[in-house]
Amino acid sequence: MNVDITNAEAAGITLDGVDKVYRGGVKAVSGVDLTIDPGEFMVLVGPSGCGKSTLLRMIAGLEEVTAGRVHIGDTDVTNKLPQQRDVAMVFQSYALYPRMSVRRNMEFGLRMRGTKAAERKARAAEVAETLGLAHLLERRPAALSGGQRQRVAMGRAIVRRPKVFLMDEPLSNLDAKLRVSMRAELSRLHQRLGVTTVYVTHDQIEAMTLGQRVAVLRDGVLQQCDTPANLFHKPVNLFVAAFIGSPGMNFVSARVEGGRVGFGGLSIPVPEGRTLADGEVILGVRPTGITLPGEGRPALTAVPEVIEDLGDERHVVFPVAAPRVDTDATRAAVDAESADDVLLPDDHARFTVKLPIDVPVTLGEPLELAINPARLHFFDPATGAAL
C-alpha cells in the first residue's frame, strides 16, 4: 500500500485576547493575540515561568482559557476537548505509553479515531521508516534510548496527520549533540510535511534556528512576534533585546545631547536617520556591533578583562566607564547568568565583543576597537521601549 504522510490541509491558529488565571490566582498568560499562518513553524520562547507551556496547552485544549478565543483553521475550538481539536502533541517527557510497543504507541491515535488496522499498520511503518525506527517497532519504550524515545514521540504525532503539531521542549532531555542534529531533522520534517507547528522552548538559539517566526513572552505577555532576523536587529524593547542573542546585547546608560550620544568618555553622533530627544537613554550594541577599527567608525579603547577562546572566534569582555544597566527587563531576560554581576568590583558596564581568532588579544593590554553606528539600539530607560 502506498501511503502519503504529508498532510493535505494545514490549518492556521488564531489566539484572540487569551488570558489564563490558574486556581489560586496566578496569572500565567495575559491578553495574548497571535495569528499563526497555515503551515508556519512558530516558536514560543521566553524565560522559565513566562507562560509558554500554558499557552501551548490552551491551544491543545489541555488547559481551559480564562478569557479570549482560540481558533484552529476556521473553527472556534475554545470550548472543545483535546480529542476534538485534531492536534498532536509532543511532550517534554515524551509521555510514551509504557506498556505498548513502539508500533502500538504510534498506532494509538489512529486506533482511537477508528482507522482500519491495515491502514494503521501501513502508516506506522511509513513513518517509522522516515524516522529510522523501523527496526524498533516491536520494542517497549523502556528498551529505547532517550533519542529513540524522542523519535517515537515525534512519530506518534506525525502518523496522525493532524492539523497542528504542538511541541513542548521536545529536545530538552537530549544531550547537546543530539539536540543539534534533531533540530536540523525537525526543520527538514517540517519542510516536508508542511504542518502548522507551535514549538515551545526556553532556548533562544533553538528558537532562532527553528522558527519561521518567534513569539517572545515575558510574564505571560507577548512582547514581540517576528522573524528571527527582525527580533535580532529590531527588538521592540529592552527585554527582547536582552533575551535574544548569545552572547547577549551589551547595554550601557548613556546621554543624548545635541545629536550626539555620550557614555564613558565617548561621544558618538546619533546614527543617520534616527532622531533622539535629549536626555537619558539606554544604549545597546550587539557583540558583533563592535569591530576592529574601521573607516569613520567611532573608536573605543578596550582593556580586556576576560578572554574566552571558542576555537574559531574569541569573546572578549572589557569594562566601560559608564554605569551598568540593571533593570527588571534585563535581569528577567538573563535570569541565570545575572548572578555574575554580583562578583563585579564596580558598577561599570561590561561589554562583550566577538573578535576573529587571529586578532591578538592579551589580558590587561589596551586594544583599539570601533563601534558600528548602524548597529546601535536605543531604549527608553523608563519604559524599556525601543526608541
Binding site: 491543545a60 485544549g61 489541555l62 476537548l81 483535546p82 480529542q83 492536534v87 498532536a88 502533541m89 511532550f91 517534554q92 517527557s93 515524551y94 509521555a95 510514551l96 505509553y97 509504557p98 506498556r99 505498548m100 494509538f108 491515535g109 482511537m112 479515531r113 517497549r140 519504550p141 523502556a142 532517550g146 524515545r149 506518534r156 496522525r160 532531555n173
Partner: protein, 299 residues
C-alpha cells in the same frame, strides 16, 4: 579492622561525625553482631512455634496426638487428619472461593476506576469525595452490622453468597481506592494528556493506558482483598443463614470450636483453610515485587 582506622575526616560531608564511632565499634562489633543474631533467632523461633505445632500435629497419626507430645515430631507421616476433615470443609472452601475471588476482583477493579478518576481525571469536588471514601476504612464492622443486615434483607440479598460478596466489595473500596489513587498519582500526567490529545476519552484512557500499567497495584489490592474476604467471620456469620452458603471460616469454627474435637483435626482444618491465602500471596507477591514499572515511565 578497617573501621578502626577511619578517622573523622573521612565522614562524608553534611553528616555529623559520631565521636569515637570507629574505635568503639572495633572492640564490641563481634559481640554486638552475635547478640543481634541470637535475638533475631529467638524471635524467629518464638513466632514460628505455633506454625510448627500446627504443621506437626496435623501430620501425626491420630493415635499419637496428645498435649504432652505437642512438640514431638511425628513418628510416621499420616494424612488421616486431612482425610477426616476434608468432607466437612469442602463446601465451605468452595463457598469461600466463590466469595473471595469475585469480591477481590470486583473491588480492585472498582478501586482502580476510583483511583484513576481521583488522581488523573480530576473533577470538581474530587478533594471532597476522596476523604469521604477513605472515611469508610475507619468504620468498625460492628457498628454497621444492624443497618447492613436490614438493608440486605430489604434488597433480598440476605442469606446467600451474593449479598456477602456485595458487602465485601463495598467494604473493600476505601482501601482499593487508596491503593490505586496513590499508584496512579505516580504516573506522569503527561501520559494521560497524551492519550487525551490522541483522541481517547476517560474510559478509553482508563482501559488502554492506565490499566495496563497497574498490575503491581492490582497485586497489592487483590492480595489484601482476597485475604480479608477469606478470613472474614463476622459478615459471613450474620449474612449467611443457610449452612449451604457458609464460608470456610464458619465451617472451621464448627470443627475447631467444638469441645470434643481432636487436635489433629482442628490443626488440619486450619491448615487447609489458610492455604488459599498463602497461595494468592505466593502467586501475586512475585508480581508486585518484580516492579513491572521500572524504567518504563520516566523520560
Amino acid at each position: 579492622m578497617s573501621a578502626a582506622t577511619l578517622d573523622d575526616t573521612t565522614v562524608p560531608k553534611g553528616q555529623t561525625p559520631r565521636k569515637g564511632h570507629g574505635r568503639i565499634r572495633s572492640r564490641w562489633a563481634p559481640y554486638v553482631t552475635v547478640l543481634k543474631y541470637a535475638l533475631l533467632l529467638f524471635f524467629l523461633v518464638f513466632f514460628l512455634m505455633p506454625v510448627y505445632a500446627l504443621v506437626v500435629t496435623s501430620l501425626k497419626d491420630p493415635a499419637e496426638v496428645g498435649v504432652d507430645t505437642v512438640w514431638n515430631l511425628p513418628s510416621t507421616l499420616s494424612f488421616d487428619s486431612f482425610a477426616t476433615v476434608w468432607p466437612k470443609l469442602q463446601d465451605g472452601l468452595v463457598n469461600s472461593l466463590m466469595l473471595a475471588i469475585p469480591a477481590s476482583l470486583i473491588s480492585s477493579l472498582l478501586g482502580a476506576a476510583n483511583g484513576f478518576v481521583l488522581s488523573k481525571w480530576r473533577f470538581p469536588g474530587a478533594d471532597f469525595v476522596f476523604p469521604l471514601i477513605l472515611f469508610g476504612m475507619f468504620i468498625p464492622y460492628q457498628s454497621v452490622l444492624i443497618p447492613m443486615t436490614e438493608t440486605m434483607s430489604f434488597l433480598g440479598l440476605k442469606g446467600g453468597l451474593d449479598g456477602l460478596i456485595l458487602v465485601h466489595i463495598i467494604y473493600g473500596l476505601p482501601l482499593t481506592t487508596l491503593i490505586f489513587r496513590s499508584y496512579f498519582a505516580g504516573i506522569s500526567d503527561e501520559i494521560v494528556e497524551a492519550a487525551e490529545v490522541d483522541g481517547a476519552g476517560m474510559l478509553r484512557t482508563f482501559f488502554h493506558v492506565a490499566l495496563p500499567v497497574a498490575p503491581p497495584a492490582f497485586a497489592v489490592a487483590i492480595i489484601w482483598q482476597f485475604t480479608s474476604a477469606w478470613n472474614d467471620f463476622l459478615f459471613g456469620a450474620v449474612l449467611t443463614t443457610n449452612r449451604a452458603y457458609w464460608p470456610v471460616t464458619i465451617a472451621l469454627n464448627n470443627i475447631a470450636g467444638g469441645q470434643a474435637v481432636p487436635f489433629n483435626e482442628a490443626m488440619a482444618s486450619a491448615l487447609i483453610a489458610c492455604l488459599p491465602t498463602l497461595l494468592v500471596y505466593i502467586l501475586l507477591g512475585r508480581f508486585f515485587m518484580r516492579g513491572l514499572m521500572a524504567g518504563a515511565l520516566k523520560g
